[in-house]
Assembly symmetry: C2
Homo-oligomer: 218 residues x 2
Amino acid sequence: MRFGIIGTGTVGRTLAGKLASLGHEVALGSRTKDNPAALAWAEQAGPSGHSGTFAEAAEFGELVINATSGTVSLQALRAAGESRLAGKVLLDVSNPLVFSATGEVSLDPVNTDSIGEQIQREFPGARVVKGLNTVNAMVMVDPGRVPGAHNLFVAGEDVEAKAQVTAVLEQFGWPAGSVLDLGGIKAARGMEMLMPFWLQLMGHFGHADFNYSIRTAG
Amino acid sequence: MRFGIIGTGTVGRTLAGKLASLGHEVALGSRTKDNPAALAWAEQAGPSGHSGTFAEAAEFGELVINATSGTVSLQALRAAGESRLAGKVLLDVSNPLVFSATGEVSLDPVNTDSIGEQIQREFPGARVVKGLNTVNAMVMVDPGRVPGAHNLFVAGEDVEAKAQVTAVLEQFGWPAGSVLDLGGIKAARGMEMLMPFWLQLMGHFGHADFNYSIRTAG
């Protein structure tokens, strides 16, 4: 399958590398064609790895992944272009973290809106699925870094799109049944609002190799 | 030990009942002295159960629990009176849920502040601990309703106060080590911001007998 990845940060490159290692064709997209991180990634990825602009990556992908920081995601997806996203599954893995001058972390949007919802509203032709934003990049593609059973979550309006994303996550090593469907794209709010709690847990443990296991009766 | 509970809703009555059943003396406080729920609770609780005003409950308790809705907690604690909270452990189990006319749920405060922090700021003499707000009332006092190992969280400035709260939670049946200390009272933000995600999970499972187990490497 062909994947277009919007964003060349740690998350984008980690997902791109895993997808290429699974035999998929991957285009890693950046704002400019000459992004050194993207060029270096494509070179070491071999023949199935490509780099280009946001628009080229979106055009290339049958499934597109937004791996930019949440605060610039809309801007990046506008550059990718609405027509290149229309009809495609768009997996949004972003978190809208804002860092203040004093180092304080907050979210924008939050509470009554989310990046996932904003993307779906602005790109109504895209089949937006919120997912993977609740774990560290390394855990996303290697759930075995965290022992035992633990969970991921998806949210979105399109059931078939969520099933496609879940199938990709199973290729990453997430066991069948470990990905919980939280409902429509509005559930992206709660998923994004996990981030402050996640950061506190990272402080508590001193590393990012942890995750939520949802225990339930019955 | 003597507990004063501020708030006669499901959470307050559930905590009061569990504490009385463990042999503690409990005063359940409400806005007015003649609150039917508080009177009925005290009658069935027997000699160790008492009811009264917010001020009377706060005066009675060596440890005070805020079990009011987060949106009215400051008002209730003002009625309890700063002098009756000074020097005491004040366990804040509230969530600041706001329900819109259309049934939409949001939090206020959120993101850059929390009820836990607001309480600590307004009552600097109280030793505020945020805790228990991440699970349903029945699970708070009976963790065995959810199978396997799962976690609670505490946040607050006073390490000894957090240890006292953790000891009470162990009396409720939470195993040693299951209560994670997330740091200072600012961590209340992340704990309160779990609520939208929790509500989505409740929708997914169709009941409230679930909880987070934090799985971690190493």
